[in-house]
Symmetry: C2
Subunit: 352 residues, 2 copies
DNA sequence: CTGTTAGCGCATTCAT
DNA sequence: ATGAATGCGCTAACAG
């Protein structure tokens, strides 16, 4: 009978070792065990080490949930990204998780697919889990939910996109300047027929990169040519189609600025298909670095948007806010400067 | 005085709304609120809806920590990977998080860098957080810690690598067969001088892929040539060096099997540099698909190890175990079959 | 249908 | 230096 009970329990309810178990085994109170394990030296040296040994022997591990409940620190941080396909997001996720783990936090990862409803669901779940901080790329549709966090004193850091009046810090990319620098580089090489592929006008990067491109053009007194501007979705097929269109122009560009990252794949495919020699026949500049860009022949020059720096900054910033929750200091906006990485895919243009 | 207190509290202690708050506001007991929110219909329709409205109005959100503590379900699942750079790991992470989120679980992401110490630390943290399941790529050095999970009835699913006698399910890749199929494909195309790049003998994939390669060779009566076999680390520089070595042989291979994924980058670089025409002058087959492979010209044929299928299976398997924790059924080993994806990088060989 | 009572595992007063 | 008592927010068994 009793035997039966024991067996039944041991199979179905794998009891986790608790402070109480240790306390009983050590013939002390739960509080003493708690203190001993805290290691603040509030306990007799001898009994402390005895308790430690027993705890070790019993395989004790603190229940983070119970602890969180009383300390009001979950040790959890939420990270919400669109996907993990984009090289920038990968770097971001990896760096942030590593940095936060070093600081003793665990990362709750959420992939939204840039879907506002998904975002809303995840935001609720993260809130329920009482994350102590949140880093995310906003869709912009769930500001009321975000306000839940900020109102509760949970720091939030936004990435890449930002609504005006966001009650939290944001780390943005300097797409205007990045595109400007890239275009200027091509202009200085002597190109004036520069084709550009960018995201749609609805997107931030689409607008800003085009703006930077135009700014450089104007600065060099080069008239803009609508035929040289291709706007489309973030995918390879668009890049293929756009590249073909550009190359088939009566006076095709002498340089291509693939400022829509995903489209670069399609562009490179077309250039290979048509056996266009880079940079002799055509100069190619891409946006956002990709590991294999440097292993292409020729190695592809890029405007690097700096995802690593952004991720590091985001993690740092969040940790700062957690430590010093100055309620009134939120809402700052930081721009992560873009950097031109010159490799071998751009050559001299016809000149002016 | 009282005013002062209130202000002070409202600034420094952003009180989260609790069941008690709602109960007071609705003049009912905490349990009634709990029941109403549970929505099992154990409460008067009218009061239930009233409570729901009040909860909504007060912005109530359940404290997952408190709930977990009593229900003994954290709703958390751990995922431990080496990195997020490898395309297979990205897909794995994304798919698993999505699948588990659908099932109502949140993912705690850990990046170990294949470092046993890191792995140990993460395993402890995950255990402390009382994850309800764990999916990971084992280093193989922390079996005692893993046993903590399995002994406690927490299901574990191993990925890619497996120690004999692991007390949990593993989803492995069929590298032997994958390499065999790939090699056989090249042989059938008429190649007999096939160079191969694989991981070091210490690695699983290194050993198995070489085995598959040799098996195919023997089956076709082709003698193995040590000069055609290059073993090295998982990185691009190795690929570059190895590829150069192979090509500089007096009788270089007519086909290259880049079965060390990361090395593929270096290989492709060399082939471009030397303007070797694929597949006319040389056939190229890679291992593990990469998004841009299909956008190269020619599109690269690969042996796909099936990370998506593996991730899906892992998630499914874990969820099953969580639902039905049949203590005695663990320890199964599943092989995820590899698949040959034929694109344009392999052509006819000289024949036999 | 509803309120009261008991914890979940832990940290933290308050006594001693 | 230690034990007893309290409560974190919630669910669940028990009475009514």
């Amino acid at each position: 009978m009793s035997d039966d009970e024991i067996k039944k329990n041991s199979i179905r309810a794998p009891h986790f070792v608790t402070l109480r178990d240790i306390a009983e085994s050590a013939s002390v109170s739960v509080s003493t065990v708690s203190r001993a394990l805290a290691g603040k030296g509030l306990v007799n040296r001898r009994t402390e080490s005895r308790i430690l040994r027993i705890a070790e022997a019993m395989g004790y591990r603190p229940n983070a949930l119970a602890r969180s409940l009383v300390t009001r620190n979950s040790g959890l941080i939420g990270l919400m990204l669109h996907n993990l396909l984009n090289a920038s997001f990968q770097r971001t996720a990896e760096i942030i998780q590593t940095r936060l783990a070093d600081a003793g936090y665990q990362l709750l990862l959420c992939i939204t697919g840039d879907n506002p409803q998904q975002e809303a669901d995840f935001l609720s779940m993260l809130f329920d889990h009482r994350v102590e901080g949140l880093i995310y790329v906003p869709t912009g549709k769930n500001m009321e939910l975000i306000r839940r966090f900020t109102d509760s004193g949970v720091p939030v850091v936004g990435l890449i996109r930002r609504q005006i009046d966001s009650p939290y810090d944001s780390i943005l990319l300097d797409d205007i300047n990045g595109a400007y620098e890239g275009t200027r580089y091509l202009l200085e090489l002597g190109h004036k027929r520069i084709g550009i592929l960018v995201g749609r006008p609805e997107t931030n990067s689409g607008r800003e990169r085009l703006e930077g491109y135009l700014k450089a053009l104007h600065e060099f007194g080069v008239p803009e040519n609508p035929n040289y501007i291709c706007r489309g979705p973030y995918n390879a097929p668009f890049g293929k189609q756009a590249c073909e269109t550009l190359l088939d122009l009566k006076t095709p560009p002498t340089a291509l600025f693939a400022a829509n990252h995903e489209a670069s794949f399609g562009v490179m495919r077309v250039l290979s298909e048509r056996s266009i020699s880079i940079p002799d026949q055509l100069s190619l500049l891409c946006y956002e670095d990709e590991p294999w860009f440097s292993w292409q022949k020729p190695a592809i020059s890029v405007v690097d948007s700096g995802p690593e720096a952004m991720a590091n900054l985001a993690a740092e910033r969040l940790l700062q806010r957690i430590i010093r929750p100055d309620a009134f200091s939120g809402g700052r906006e930081l721009r992560m400067g873009a950097k031109l990485i010159i490799r071998d895919s751009c050559g001299a243009g016809p000149g002016f």
